[in-house]
Symmetry: C2
Subunit: 332 residues, 2 copies
Amino acid sequence: EVYSILKSELLHDPSFEFTHDSRQWVERMLDYNVPGGKLNRGLSVLDSYKLLKGEESANDELFLACALGWCIEWLQAYFLVLDDIMDNSHTRRGQPCWFRLPKIGLIAINDGLILRNHIPRILKKYFREKPYYVDLLDLFNEVEFQTAHGQMIDLVTTLEGEKDLSKYSLLLHRRIVQYKTAYYSFYLPVACALLMAGENLDNHIGVKNILIEMGTYFQVQDDYLDCFGDPKVMGKVGTDIEDFKCSWLVVKALECANEEQKQLLHENYGKADQACVAKVKELYKVLDLEGAFAEYESNSYEKLRKSIEAHPSKAVQAVLKSFLEKIYKRLK
Amino acid sequence: EVYSILKSELLHDPSFEFTHDSRQWVERMLDYNVPGGKLNRGLSVLDSYKLLKGEESANDELFLACALGWCIEWLQAYFLVLDDIMDNSHTRRGQPCWFRLPKIGLIAINDGLILRNHIPRILKKYFREKPYYVDLLDLFNEVEFQTAHGQMIDLVTTLEGEKDLSKYSLLLHRRIVQYKTAYYSFYLPVACALLMAGENLDNHIGVKNILIEMGTYFQVQDDYLDCFGDPKVMGKVGTDIEDFKCSWLVVKALECANEEQKQLLHENYGKADQACVAKVKELYKVLDLEGAFAEYESNSYEKLRKSIEAHPSKAVQAVLKSFLEKIYKRLK
Ligand SMILES: [Mg+2]
Ligand SMILES: [Mg+2]
Ligand SMILES: [Mg+2]
Ligand SMILES: [Mg+2]
Ligand SMILES: [Mg+2]
Ligand SMILES: [Mg+2]
């Protein structure tokens, strides 16, 4: 399996003299944090590459596409390990967050950095001689830059002690999710596949825009499921209301609410107290945000299909459609 | 001034749509964390480059050397911001650590990532068209990888609850400091200058080894000054003994101590209690670690001078000598 190969190479990287203890530490950290997600992002590189090249791809090219997919999973693990510390979260993928384990604590910060530093090692090992190597490095660097800045707006707007709902708007919501999620989860896998297929990314701004739209739609679903999804299906209990998140739901609620309802939101949003949370959820029901979401979902879907069908290349259309179908009406 | 130019470009990077608030956040974070150090690392790039090229370098090449120097200062800021969180430190460069400021807290983790993400933006902006661009990216990636792994051994060996002095040895000490400090503080600036001068780093393994030796010597000084230096001159009070650090002093003490003295170390090293700290310091005096350090210092200096003088290129010799003279017998 590709993951085991990559892991073993990283644990024997000649740029560092591992001791037995440090090698074990990194191995345990990788096994805990890297596999075990839905692998959507990672698999997308392989799927997209196959669709772009037809089924006649050589085996070693398919291996490379998997390796790039794993790089995105590594990137995701890096973001999640650090995000959980900053959000003071308790669980992730149905198990305790890495920093919550005994003897880990804030060493998890450095573990996050190690995850991040593995990516260029993998890229160098497998892609150093490829004509698109520099573009790959630039791509990962740019996407990470965007994600870190998305996180920043998210963190700064949710800042404890500055809780101010009046800052929240669809525009702010879109900006946060576009940068925090869409670039690395949607654009990055397809961009990796395009580079492998020999494409110049500057010629695919249209594809990028569609993927960013799709990522935004994905995050709106995420926000919706945080409140209305089934915790058993999702493997976690949502806390966006308690956490004062700039969720699509609260933004939409602020848009539809009358003065009295707005007042209720201002008084109860962002409080850990479960009675406050219940009041907010009740208001969401009264305002029929479930209906608003259903409408948003079908509108987004139609718009995305149209944009995709307007794309000149059938292969690219296939990539984008397969992505869209994977997330449409998802329940987790 | 180069710093202001770089900062302004980063705050207007077209890859992200800044809001007023987020731009202000980043600017304040940069001003607090990036300038204000000794700038040794940053200036070394410029100095080395001048020595390699003679004085006839074009102005824009000198600007580029400064930009690379600032990239190293950015890297340093990134490491320090995160290291202070992990070490639970209070002050840095005579002011509170960034994460200690009101409203910052663990958002500082993401600020660290932003500092790190600025580096490839600067490199791309100024070096994208240079023949050595890929090598520059690979160099920064490799050195960061090494530093993160050095930090890892440091963190794992100092792990709370596993305090075990018998693991500490000169070999472990060397491994920690080589990876944690020497690569990025000593090798990286000179390697940057060599790349700018058109050199292939594979032909300069000897230079790398000398710089790693020098970095190790530098860290031994650091360990020495932590206990024996003047806090007023250094701008901080050392806490290596309390923190159970694998310092050169404790390793040396373990080497010279008799059984009874070892017992004292085991009982008192790594305790916050000032009486314990005083006992350890007293033992250091009894074992004449000041003398041992003076001997180490002059031996290292002689060995380094000899290695440098054996180098075939006078220009490279000048670079290495100037570096060595800057740190020999430093008091802070
Ligand atoms: Mg989170
Ligand atoms: Mg978060
Ligand atoms: Mg969510
Ligand atoms: Mg520290
Ligand atoms: Mg430290
Ligand atoms: Mg020190």
